[in-house]
Each structure stands twice: as structure tokens, then as C-alpha cells.
């Protein structure tokens, strides 16, 4: 979460506000609130949560929380990967295909061909890394927008998924501890899957790297202005390539966690995930132009999406309305993000960077 440099009253532009003590402490408190970059998505979450809590008494139960978090894991892990890549100024539309292909490859190796489970897992992730590297190299070497490159590779890998098993899913009925760690196990007697820990760990690591390290600084710089970043000695190509690989590996890992949680890998699953991941990144405060975005914001966005999905089910509305709902959410959050930023600027807020 971002902090704030308190500017006292000197920074306040409103006349009158600078005089009264009561007013100025209120203003500085407001300034603190507006300095929170993720305010737009937080507001959206509060509104949506209240509405569903009002519509359905079951919304505030443990079972509901388990379901919300399970969706949040799915949207969140792939979403933060896409967020980092978007901050670096690039897109990855192939995440949906990677999300279905890599767990399928793992299951195919392990269950259908008796390969060691760890080796299968490692190979599936290595495949994802290679796909990310191909996306990155093609974008950088051919100088074609990543939007197009990853649209093309995504289509290609979707076809590979379908042909690998002839379109059929691969299911697992055993009790491997690997599957438990990945997501089959639940915490204590709750309905909350351990997969939430993967999301939390990934969020903590990525948020720290982005804000606290030179590498994170370079990611923002690459997306902000690639030429300027290169002029200042930032290895732009290497940074972007790394982000492509990260996005792809996290998409694969999301799929593998889903496989662990539900015991089944399907060639066609998650086909709309590429756009959902973009929604997560943008609702969380990211810019399609690159150079801006927040990991914590993306996490909150993923939780809000999870709440919406579960809320729609519990309040008796069909989940077939989910996408329409996401459309509204996207607009609402983006408008909120912009409004909050302007309000913040009016109060003379400076976010600690």
C-alpha cells in the first residue's frame, strides 16, 4: 500500500482551508486517504460486497468466502503476471491458452504416461517459460506489437491443447500430496483452499520487487518510455523478456493450481481468461499505455471479481450474467480511479513512490 508525504497546510490550494485548524487536519486526513492508489477498486469492492450481502444472507459465510477466494486465486495469479507485463508496456493474450495447455501437459505426462509428478510439473512450467520467451523474442526481434504476437501464439497453443488429448479432459482420482499442496487441501475445517497461499506469496513477492528493487524501477521505466529507459542504461529488452516469461509462467501455474484444486485438466478451460486478466490489471489501476499499475490493486480486483461471481450465484442470478457484470465493473473502477486521482491532486497529495 502506498504511503503519503504529509504536506501540512502549505500544499492546500483551496483558500480558507489553509486558515482553520479543524479544516486542515480533515484535509490532511483526506489527503492520506486519496494517496491510496488502490482506492478506486476498494470502493468498487465495498459497493459490490454490500449489495450482495444485502441480496443474499449466505454471502457472508465461510463457504462463500471459500468460493470467492478460489475465484480470486484463478483471476489473481494470472492477473498479477499480466499486470507486471502491462506495466512494462506489453500485452499477453496467450495466457488463456497457456492456462489450459500447461496443466494438460502436466496431466498428460504424469497420468497418461507415468512420468514422475515433479518432473511433469517442472516440464509444464518450463514449457510455459519457453512460450513466454517466444512471445518476448518475437515481439522484440520482429518489432511487431505484442498484442498481435500473443494473439497469434495464443491461437496456436489453443490448437495444440485440443489436439493433445483429442479434446478430452484428463482427470485425477488419487490422493497425491502434490495435488493437495497445489490446491486440493482445505485449511482446517473451513472451505478455504490452500491455493490462497500461492496467491498471497506471489503477490507479496511481486509487490516488493516492483516497489523496492531496481528491477521494479526498470519495469516501470520500460513501460513509461522505453527509449528513455534504454538511454539511461536500462536493459529494456532483457526486462521485457523477463516480464513475458513471468506472465506466461504465472498463467501456467494458475492452470496447474486449478488442476490441483479440482483434479481435472480440460483443453478448453478458461478461454476468456486473457480478457479477464486485462480487466484485473486495469481495474487494479494499470494503464494500457504502460508505466502504471499496482500488484495490490490487481489482487483487490481479483477478489472483487471473485465476489461478483459468487454473489451472482448466491443471489440466484445466473452466472451467465457474469461477463455483463464484469463489463460494468471495468467502467466503474476505471472512472473511480481517474476521479480519485484528480481529487487527490486537488488536495495536494504526493504518493510516496
Amino acid at each position: 500500500m502506498e504511503g503519503v508525504t504529509s504536506q501540512g497546510t502549505g500544499a492546500v490550494t483551496e483558500p480558507g482551508a489553509t486558515r482553520s485548524v479543524g479544516r486542515s487536519s480533515l484535509v490532511s486526513m483526506l489527503a492520506r486517504v486519496f494517496a491510496v492508489q488502490e482506492l478506486g477498486v476498494l470502493a468498487a469492492g465495498l459497493v459490490i460486497g454490500s449489495v450482495f450481502a444485502f441480496l443474499s444472507p449466505e454471502f457472508l459465510t465461510m463457504a462463500s468466502a471459500g468460493s470467492i477466494l478460489a475465484s480470486a486465486v484463478q483471476f489473481g495469479i494470472v492477473g498479477v503476471g499480466v499486470t507486471v507485463l502491462m506495466i512494462a508496456g506489453e500485452f499477453d493474450l496467450s495466457v488463456a491458452s497457456v492456462y489450459s495447455l500447461c496443466p494438460l501437459v502436466m496431466a498428460w505426462l504424469w497420468i497418461d504416461h507415468g512420468v514422475n509428478v515433479f518432473l511433469s510439473l517442472t516440464l509444464a512450467l518450463a514449457l510455459a517459460a519457453s512460450i513466454g520467451a517466444i512471445n518476448g523474442l518475437a515481439t522484440l526481434l520482429l518489432n511487431i506489437p505484442s498484442f498481435i504476437i500473443t494473439l497469434a501464439t495464443g491461437l496456436f497453443w489453443a490448437g495444440v491443447s485440443l489436439n493433445l488429448t483429442g479434446g478430452y479432459p484428463i482427470s485425477y482420482f488419487g490422493t497425491s500430496p502434490v495435488m493437495s499442496w497445489l490446491g486440493a487441501a482445505e485449511m482446517g475445517s473451513s472451505k478455504i483452499s490452500v491455493s490462497i497461499f500461492w496467491l498471497v506469496a506471489i503477490v507479496v513477492i511481486l509487490a516488493s520487487v516492483l516497489r523496492m528493487t531496481a528491477t521494479g524501477n526498470w519495469v516501470f521505466a520500460c513501460g513509461g518510455d522505453g527509449r528513455a529507459a534504454r538511454a539511461m542504461g536500462v536493459p529494456v529488452a532483457v526486462v521485457k523478456l523477463g516480464c513475458f516469461i513471468l506472465s506466461s509462467v504465472l498463467a501456467a501455474f494458475t492452470g496447474i493450481v486449478q488442476f490441483g484444486s479440482f483434479g481435472s485438466a480440460t483443453p478448453t478451460q478458461g478461454s476468456d481468461l486473457a480478457l479477464t486478466a486485462l480487466v484485473v490489471a486495469v481495474v487494479g489501476g494499470g494503464s494500457l499505455m504502460g508505466g502504471r499499475g499496482s500488484i495490490v490493486g490487481a489482487l483487490l480486483a481479483a477478489i472483487v471479481l471473485g465476489m461478483s461471481y459468487t454473489g451472482l450465484v448466491l443471489s440466484g442470478v445466473s452466472t451467465t450474467w457474469f461477463q455483463s457484470f464484469v463489463g460494468f465493473l471495468l467502467l466503474f473502477a476505471v472512472i473511480m480511479n481517474l476521479r480519485m486521482e484528480r481529487l487527490g491532486a486537488r488536495f495536494g497529495v504526493i504518493r510516496k513512490s
Partner: protein, 250 residues
């Protein structure tokens, strides 16, 4: 290598497609010397400077830094031998904060791997001190994004950054184009101090009077080639202006 000139370029050529931006350029700058680079718009000054600092690799030609042949594959390579640049387009990232821009590519770190992280407080302080020295006293905080700064303030930031990291060669591409008279004088002073401290300086400027005042040598370019090189004490500013304007015979 003792005795060797700081930076020597020989027969350097750079084309963009079929547009030859610079051709057969011979250029040198030594320690403790300010070299001015003048010429019409599109003469190839910025391109030459970007070859010097690794932004472009030349199609042909040899470069020697400190007597050793060098090939820069990126600005990072050039920075690592001590070539610091203020670009004409300033090379700032608008959405990043002032201090993050100041230290971009050169971040100070503390702690050990894998927990090595940015020394933020230190970087904020150094940034503020350097900007104050450049006359930016009205800044509220180093955490503000660069896009709130005025053109002149951005230029001052880019110059302060180059000055702070200044290795052995300082390259400035139109550093004062957006500055007031007072701030321009500050830049000139900073350039002189750098020179007197033993740095080599290359400066591009369209203001011939200004170039003539501070430079030891002046290189005049035309259509991608070096037209002439003169010592400051050999010519008047008017003569240089005439040469730039193409009135060679005068």
C-alpha cells in the same frame, strides 16, 4: 593509457535506411576541454552524439576511449566507461517520480541478496540536494512524478543527473534550450567546473554566441559531415555563425 586523447572518433558513419545521417566524421575531445558542436537542423549533431554514447552503433568507423578501441552496444556500456549524457529529448520517464528518474539505471541499494533493496531515503536526499544546487528550490518532494515539472525544470533535472554521475566525459545535447538566462548561466558555470575538474565536455547548442563564450574548440557540421574545426581564440563568434549559415568564403 597516459598521453592518449580521452575520446577519438575516426571515419564514423551512421545511416537510417538510405538516409545518411553522419558520414566519415572525425572528432576528438580531450580531458579538460569543452568542444562545441554546431550546425543546421538535421546536420547530424544529435546522431553523432548518440553514436558517442552507445545509443546507436555506427555502421562504420573506429572509436577510441582513453586510447583503447571501444564498441558500445548500448548506452549502458558507454555509461560504464564514464560517458554521461544529457539528451536533447532529456530521457526522462514522466510517470516515474523525480528521484526514481534521477537514479534510473544507477539505483543505490542496501542489504544483501536476496533481500537487496533500494536505499530510498538516501536517493531522495541526494536528488533533492543536487536539484537545489541546480536552482530548483521550489520542489515540494522528490516523490512527485516528473510530468508535473516544467520544461526548464526537466532540463535542470537531466543536467543535475549527468553532473552527479559525471564520469570522464559529459555530453550535452542542447542543454539550455528551455532555460531562462539565469539558469543558462548556471549550466555554463557547471560545465566550466566540470572542465576545470578534468572532464571532457561535448556541447551542442544553436546559440553561437553562447558556444563561443564557453567552448575551447568548435566543430561545425553540415549535412552529416564535419565542415570545419576551429579554436575559440582563432575566430570570432560572427565568423562561426557565418560558417554555420553556409557563408564559407567570408
Amino acid at each position: 593509457m597516459p598521453g592518449a586523447k580521452l575520446f577519438v572518433l575516426h571515419d564514423v558513419t551512421k545511416s537510417f535506411g538510405n538516409l545518411v545521417a553522419i558520414e566519415g566524421v572525425v572528432f576528438e575531445v580531450d580531458r579538460g576541454e569543452i568542444v562545441g558542436l554546431v550546425g543546421d537542423n538535421g546536420a547530424g549533431k544529435s546522431t553523432l552524439v548518440k553514436v558517442m554514447n552507445g545509443f546507436y552503433s555506427p555502421d562504420r568507423g573506429v572509436m577510441r576511449f582513453d586510447g583503447r578501441p571501444v564498441r558500445f552496444n548500448s548506452p549502458r556500456d558507454a555509461r560504464s566507461v564514464g560517458i554521461e549524457t544529457v539528451y536533447q529529448d532529456l530521457a526522462l520517464i514522466p510517470a516515474l517520480s523525480i528521484w526514481r528518474n534521477f537514479f534510473l539505471g544507477r539505483e543505490l541499494k542496501k542489504g544483501r541478496a536476496p533481500f537487496m533493496h533500494l536505499a530510498k531515503a538516501e536517493m531522495r536526499n541526494i536528488t533533492m540536494v543536487n536539484l537545489r544546487e541546480m536552482g530548483l528550490t521550489r520542489l515540494r518532494s522528490p516523490d512527485e512524478p516528473v510530468d508535473i515539472l516544467s520544461g526548464g525544470e526537466r532540463q535542470a533535472l537531466a543536467i543535475a543527473r549527468a553532473r552527479h554521475f559525471g564520469g570522464s566525459l559529459l555530453v550535452l545535447d542542447e542543454p539550455t534550450s528551455a532555460l531562462s538566462v539565469k539558469e543558462t548561466e548556471k549550466v555554463s558555470e557547471a560545465v566550466r567546473i566540470a572542465r576545470d575538474g578534468g572532464l571532457g565536455v561535448v556541447i551542442i547548442d544553436h546559440n553561437i554566441g553562447h558556444v563561443h563564450r564557453i567552448c575551447d574548440r568548435i566543430v561545425i557540421m553540415e549535412s552529416g559531415r564535419v565542415l570545419n574545426t576551429v579554436r575559440r581564440d582563432e575566430v570570432t563568434a560572427q565568423r562561426v555563425a557565418d560558417m554555420v549559415a553556409g557563408r564559407h568564403a567570408l
